[in-house]
Symmetry: C2
Subunit: 300 residues, 2 copies
């Protein structure tokens, strides 16, 4: 650690693991740590232990936190900074923002995990400088975030892009859907747990030539086309566990192309979908680097 | 006309009629004119004739134009300010912005008609001061606009919210859809021409107890829920010819409520949908007043 230098902190607070880093960007990470998510007390103590030396040295200008959810990010709400109604044991109504702020005494900016990933890819990754741009994760859940005017877009409530309703051909896929609220919404049809519920085995064990992947690509394409018509991003980064099946990208692009049918007259959408729908450039670090980007943005 | 006073101009340029007004808001309209849309030359001459006295008196600070489309509103495009690939005879690739700018020599701001209506309702109507807010028209076409940070939201291309894909139960409604590009997209299923194509008679002649209205409300509700999950507006104004059937509002609210299923924890969405999904407060003047609002915004 060089004295006299200043850094920013990033936290990717996931339901399975936490990643924390200190630095100023992808090539300037001072230190990084990953550990499993256990109880809130134990987990947040490990977070504080990691950052405390930098705080004591007066080197940490702020921390950006991307948290699993649902999280309340409305500053006017009495539950601001809480992980709210999560089914994850012990974490329901955890004041994660308040706890870290109290213990570390540095400025903290909190957002949804997917918003942090979107900021990471916008600041240093595949969406670099593209405004508006979009990040969608298809994994344990499905969630998305737009970056507009350099910040994650907010509305009346948090974006819940995974819950849009899309067409389902029940002759080809009679699955009822796995979303406890909406049944066969996009997440209910296409998330990792939906694939598990459908076949009794996890998505990663389904062979590349399994016919289901055409359905999966179709669901993702329907949703992407909805987002493109509703708020056309300059590029879409598609991440998350299900998207580790690399062959999905081309299937999705082909279907998006057919669904758009050249209605939107822009070369990115008519002939360059391979540059329009892309994997994350920062890999598993989109989220933690996005935390650092959120912290740096606070300082502007 | 009082000398020494300044005004703004608004134009709602529709495919059927043009409305022009000079003033400073709903209660301060100096003059207003409506006439049918004929050829571009004749129509734009009438527009110029209307505004010219105010221009000559040095009283017109600028004009906001909401135009039927598709319109190219990308300042970097060679076709900026053009009505582009419209099927309307004689209007394809009409440089409406260039023509008005050349003849009237005042600052002009151009946007899609629905974006102007959204600005009108945001500035003086049912969405007053609500940011982000949304306006959706369901009529000859279906289109929507978000107001964010006081301006119509832009993306890589213009918003085309009418073309989202939504679930269709072909047992209840076997109609193939009327959109020449996408068949059974939202506009292809639920616009005025789609209803006409389905029943051989216009929407306004369908009785209130016609079972189809449940389908229509269902399609609109599916799309609204998609928009709410993708970018949750603070309120949605629903206008356009089809929405003159007042009984549709309550049907739509009931369906939106069932589709959301209390997933989004905000009182507006869980118990106040009658304040959340509302008719335009400015009636047929949303568009022309929105033009005035766009012109005033240029001046800020």
């Amino acid at each position: 650690m060089m004295s006299g230098q200043y850094f920013y902190g990033g936290i990717e607070g996931g339901g399975t693991k936490f990643i924390c880093a200190v630095g100023n960007g992808p090539g300037e990470i001072q230190q990084e740590i990953r550990f499993p998510t256990t109880t809130p007390t134990e987990t947040l103590e490990r977070v504080c232990d990691f950052f405390t030396p930098y705080v004591k040295a007066g080197q940490l200008k702020g921390i950006g936190l991307g948290s699993f959810g649902p999280v309340d990010v409305d500053p006017a709400s009495p539950n601001f900074g809480y992980i709210t109604t999560t089914p994850k044991p012990n974490w329901s109504f955890t004041n994660i923002y308040g706890k870290l702020k109290q213990d570390l005494k540095v400025p903290i900016r909190m957002d949804m995990d997917v918003a942090a990933s979107a900021m990471g890819e916008y600041t240093w990754g595949a969406n670099k400088g593209l405004d508006p741009s979009m990040y969608l994760t298809v994994g344990t859940g499905i969630g998305g975030s737009y970056i507009l005017d350099g910040k994650p877009l907010r509305g009346l409530v948090s974006l819940e892009m995974g819950h849009v309703r899309i067409p389902q051909d029940e002759k080809l896929d009679p699955f009822k859907g796995a979303c406890p609220y909406h049944g066969n919404c996009f997440e209910g049809l296409a998330s990792g747990p939906a694939i598990l519920a459908r076949f009794g085995k996890p998505a990663e064990t389904l062979a590349e030539d399994d016919l289901y992947w055409e359905q999966e690509a179709g669901y993702i394409a329907y949703a992407l086309v909805d987002y493109i018509f509703t708020l056309p991003p300059r590029r879409i980064v598609l991440g998350g566990g299900v998207m580790r099946k690399d062959f999905l990208y081309e299937k999705i692009r082909n279907r998006v192309s057919r669904l758009l049918n050249n209605y939107l007259n822009h070369p990115m959408l008519t002939s360059s979908l391979e540059d329009y729908i892309v994997p994350p450039a920062l890999g598993y670090r989109s989220g933690v680097l996005g935390g650092i980007a959120l912290a740096m943005d606070m300082d502007k």
